[in-house]
């Protein structure tokens, strides 16, 4: 099976060109897809809208996944299935969650996993819709992780 042209499958809309968060997340996903073939399956299966809000930076974006396609919007667009609200630094920390080898799920017993769980328990990181969209959350975490 040939490799897809992932750069053509991730579209940052013109309205999001000046949204640094949107650019960073889109770049991160593209780099991860290019360098970690094991993440491509998660990208192919991802469907739904994910809003990410960096509260301290007062920036929001929406990721619209449609199975091997991603459209990146400025702000919150449509009704998100998942909404992540956190400080910018904690959003970055999400991409540092280590994954369990061969399984690809976040390792919540690693130092980064424990720190992330602590922040969700104390409300520093809030993920709305997680219980209703667990596969979406897990695949998103896998896609965003730099590991």
């Amino acid at each position: 099976m040939g490799t897809l042209d992932y750069s053509a499958r991730i579209e940052v809309l013109a309205s999001a060109q000046n949204n640094g968060l949107a650019q960073m997340v889109a770049d991160l996903i593209l780099q991860n897809l290019l360098e970690h073939p094991d993440k491509r399956d998660a990208f192919a299966r991802l469907r739904g809208r994910v809003a990410i809000v960096a509260e301290d930076a007062e920036v929001a974006m929406t990721l619209e996944f449609a199975g091997n396609m991603l459209t990146v919007h400025d702000g919150i667009v449509g009704i998100p299935d998942l909404t992540v609200r956190a400080q910018g630094e904690d959003i970055i920390q999400m991409s540092l969650l280590e994954l369990i080898p061969h399984v690809g799920l976040p390792n919540l017993f690693s130092s980064s996993g424990r720190a992330f769980m602590h922040k969700t328990q104390t409300g520093q990181v809030r993920v709305y819709g997680a219980l209703l969209h667990i596969p979406l959350l897990l695949r998103l975490t896998r896609l965003l992780s730099v590991y």
């Binding site: 640094g20 650019q23 960073m24 991160l28 780099q31 930076a57 920036v59 991409s95 540092l96 730099v146």
Partner: protein, 141 residues
């Protein structure tokens, strides 16, 4: 003595400040990914006729050299380049703002370099930029 930002003298003082920052020594100890260019975009109204860069030769928690170059000269030499207008750099230095926040807001841009690597060293980036606060700085406006 205050050093004009950006300038050769400011760059030399900044290198000393980075090396005097114990937090950078710790956060940057695993950084072996090349030079970092901080590029101030051209602004003729303050005498910057072209993009100017502070090129930092950082490795394993130490800044081995710092050069003041044009942006054009610095870009090919740097593994990572962060660019932005003068006023945004000024704000970052004065207020010790989080560089990640500035990137998210689109006030600074990573124009060269591997984003996942930079993310892994986010604390190193923060300490690198916070070192600028200890440089006595004279701003062009």
């Amino acid at each position: 003595m205050a050093h004009l930002f950006p300038s050769e003298a400011w760059t030399a003082a900044y290198q000393a400040a980075v090396n005097a920052n114990p937090n950078y020594k710790v956060a940057g100890k695993d950084w072996t990914h090349g030079k970092v260019a901080l590029i101030v975009r051209a602004d003729a109204s303050i005498g910057l006729e072209q993009d100017m860069a502070i090129l930092l030769d950082v490795n394993a928690g130490t800044c081995h050299g710092a050069s003041y170059l044009t942006g054009e000269a610095a870009r090919p030499l740097a593994a990572f380049a962060v660019e932005g207008p003068y006023d945004h750099w000024k704000q970052l230095i004065i207020e010790n703002q989080d560089p990640i926040k500035a990137l998210m807001q689109g006030r600074l841009k990573l124009t060269k370099g591997h984003l996942p690597t930079m993310i892994r060293y986010v604390e190193s980036s923060k300490q690198l930029l916070s070192s600028a606060q200890s440089v006595t700085t004279e701003f062009r406006r």
